[in-house]
Amino acid sequence: MLLIKCPYCEEERPELEFRNAGEAHLVRAAPIVDQSDDDFAAFLYFRQNPKGLQFERWRHIHGCGRFFNAVRDSVSDKFLTVYKAGEPKPNIEQLVAKAPTPAETAAEPEQKRAPRAKKAEV
């Protein structure tokens, strides 16, 4: 069971208190009715699912109830950072440089690749 730090409660709590809520930083267009079919399809269905670092949403559902964002390595399950909803995307290179851990130093280079920029992001 993972320990996850909630950026609102500012402490680590067991995974049981949380629920994953999918990829982070998907932008709901405004006005959404004007979005093209391709862009809307990308927003609705296309996900990165990277091997390595990914931006994802979590909800501290059995705690404070807040949604927040996290950067997690999908290979090692290690969280690099968590941050509040609405805060900008952290810089992956800086994070990796700041906190090397045994798993990360051992990780294959391609596993460290940051997710590609998403179509839906404008």
């Binding site: 069971m1 993972l2 405004a30 006005p31 009715v33 079919d37 809307f40 609705l44 609405g86 045994p102």
Partner: protein, 1002 residues
Amino acid sequence: MSTANHSGSNRIAGAGRLTPAKTVRFTFDGQNLTGLEGDTLASALLANGIHLVGRSFKYHRPRGILSAGSEEPNALVDVERDKSRKQPNVRATVQEIYDGLKVKSQNRWPSLTFDVGAINDVFSPMLPAGFYYKTFMWPKFAWKTIYEPKIRAAAGLGVVPGEPDTDRYTNRFAHCDVLVVGAGAAGLAAALSAANCGAKVILCDEQTEAGGALRYESDVTIDGVPGYEWASATVARLRSMDNVTVLTRTTAFGYYAQNFVGLAERISDHLSTPGADMPRERLWQVRARKVVLATGAIERHMVFANNDRPGIMLASAARMFLNHYGVAIGRKVGVYTANDSAYAAAIDLKRAGVDVPVIVDTRDNPTSPIVEEARSLGIDVLTGHAVYSAGGKRRVSSMLIKPNRGGNERKVSVDALIVSAGWTPSVHLFSQSRGKVAWDAANERFLPGTYAQDCVSVGACNGTDRLQDVLDEAVSSGSASAGEAGFAKGNAGSLTATGGTSWIAGMIGSAPGAGADTTVKAFVDFQNDVTAKDVRLAVHEGMHSIEHVKRFTTTGMATDQGKTSNLHGLAIAAEALNRPIPAVGLTTFRAPFTPVTFGTIVNHARHDLFDPTRRTPMHAWHAAQGAAFEDVGQWKRAWYYPQAGEDMHAAVNRECVAVRNQAGIFDASTLGKIEVVGPDAARFLELLYTNPWEKLGIGRLRYGIMLREDGFIYDDGVVGRLAEDRFHVTTTTGGAPRVMNHMEDYLQTEFPHLNVWLTSTTEQWAVIAVQGPKAREIIAPLVEGIDMSNEAMRHMSVREGKICGVPTRLFRMSFTGETGYEINVPADYGQAVWEAIHERGKPLGLTPYGTEAMHILRAEKGYIIVGQDTDGTVTPQDAGLTWAIGKNKADYVGIRGLLRRDLVADGRKQLVGLKTVDPKVVLEEGAQIVANPNQPVPMTMIGHVTSSYWSENCGRSIALALVVDGTRRLGETLHVPMPNGVIEVEVTGTVFFDEKGERLNG
């Protein structure tokens, strides 16, 4: 050799640490035997001269005891306390004996000494690896019906108990600074060193007592005292420290993310009469800042012909049985080794008075002084020799010895044979932690390589050889771990060791005489009956990765997970492939390290505690009325209320008719309820529902539809406006939690600018629906402060007031098509108000109705149930709910999804009614619909039945269905092919009763 016969003829007086006076009686296959307190089943059986304890999995070959620990592949038995507390596949080397212990051997019929299944051994040339895959392929159906059941019955290990387990299991969460796994010399030293720094330490060991190899190493001292004494004193010291928890009989079985380690503690399996309040096992879920792995190493057997005969045993096991349990495994014990450590066992046996005629060493020139020591005791040491086969069947009787460079063979008779091919470091937990092992070519072993978590390996599992080095490494790792966990390094001190035998080097793979040019039965994996020949055959048949070899031969896949066999199998495969071992690869170790009972994992989550049961405030009343209940998610809902002599059909028909003719009372408390409050509440609902809300008047209700972003229906429910800034939202029973989550998600992340608060009030309100022409007449006298006249309180309105003196939110609404009310009262008053209304309405014909009648009544009106008439691919237009979409709205969740090409295209399935041509026929829900029943199979299906009932009110069956272009097919005849014939149906509108809806406004 003197013996102490009362606890077994092979017990040596003066040897071992058990107390001769403390005898324990037990039975093995019905035979009464006596052992000593502290014995394992294995040591007690050996003391009584019993080596044959089981039959093998596939060939039913006689098998004995290989080891003295949890790696045991052979000696699996069935232990039975009573019918419900019976466990198969218990390792005799782990089970401690107690007075009255009842043990049975497994996988034999009719008896252990005469086993019919042993015929498989005779036919074994016809049963090579992969035999089952290749042989039982035809005819296809026979695998499931004939082959698999027969093979499963013939093979297999123990038999599972037939009754539910009555034992109790418990669990505990623990946090510590340093978790030390393994309490041998390394683990004890590391734990003490960490504890001395002030760190909170948990030390666990799977064995009965701490000490590890110190329990049998007779030639070792630490700090001037014999190793075992040092271990006992150290454990006592650790136990006396407040910051240390010592857990014996506790297996660290799984190493999960972020230093989360699962321990299984066996609490009462060794007790004759466990206290009634005593759990059988305890699951520990430990979160450690640092983990010190001191898991030791496991000795390997030699791979040679008939190496599985009972009486052939690992050298370290023989030493343990002698030095700890005082048991000689035989009177004339041969030795076959490829390293030094077996010499120590031979010397101990010889000194205890056991005849040790010969040590056969595959090495040409072993140089260790221990070789000379053995010779000096008069043991014949044959270097550069190998044992080509073992004689005997139910017990080894001889060893056939040949020089490696050719020459005369000779046969030495023995009654036991100890073997050692070398030691395999236990990197299981390290590997489970996602660490990567590295191949140590010089010593042919895998060692911890790249670490993935905050852990460190010390001692034998780290490849460290000399005891002094092990202790130095453990002491410094212990204090370093405490230091990294935030404790100042205390004075770690140091420990001084003498004695001990080197245990590195040895051999892996098949021994001389069992090589590629032979067809002998030299076992690699005892438990799954895999021989060296089988591994080579797998390679020959094209399995080139160890993963494939493993699955083809099943080597390493038994309950012991190949603890003694994996490296042998890998080496043989690598040799056959002519590739280096690291290139062939090692399979990943997975949890659990040793089998863990289901009871421990399931723990308290059984019976009532398996899943929460939710009951409404009026549950007791329904139960007292004899209601049948149905499970709806976690809720128990009253399904129908049968009266004397009624079956379900009769009860439901009566309930449905009563609602339409007089009135019915229904428990709707399970509906999800969310209070939406704040200055932007209406704007928020505008965004979450398709409907317009800004202009909904205070005191009015509206039916709302919630979509997902893709445009499909997610939920529905009635929403009431209680104030400018306050809405009472209802959801479907099953949808309540996810709707709340969906709303929170949008409020927090997409529309955070809105000032709105959401509160789940599902369990705060009891909801009593009173429906039918007499509904108002029944409740009006009980209501205070609300004008209930038809003019003042129209259909789809809400008022706050009192009922029976209790605050209420009174909804005038209907899910039946009748004039009706849904009375919300605080949950604690639910049953009292329900009873008062029932009392008042009874003389007027008020009838309780359950969820079945509710379903039928709403279907008669064509009201959908989300999740039954919709399935996540249905839009409001498909469901005939276009009217519920706000026409002038700029945005709501799903607005863009609804514009997608496929959602506005022709040919979508639309909700329609179906009437069977024969009104008595009730369609099956889920039945498929076709246009032309005479087309060839597979037919083109154009829809399916979503709801179908007998409607007593309509005097016929009714159904709802999703049909391609359904609304354009009104009046058409379609067909529902069923196993017993094709049913003709007419497509109709969705409303079957009171099409104009006049009854709502009565």
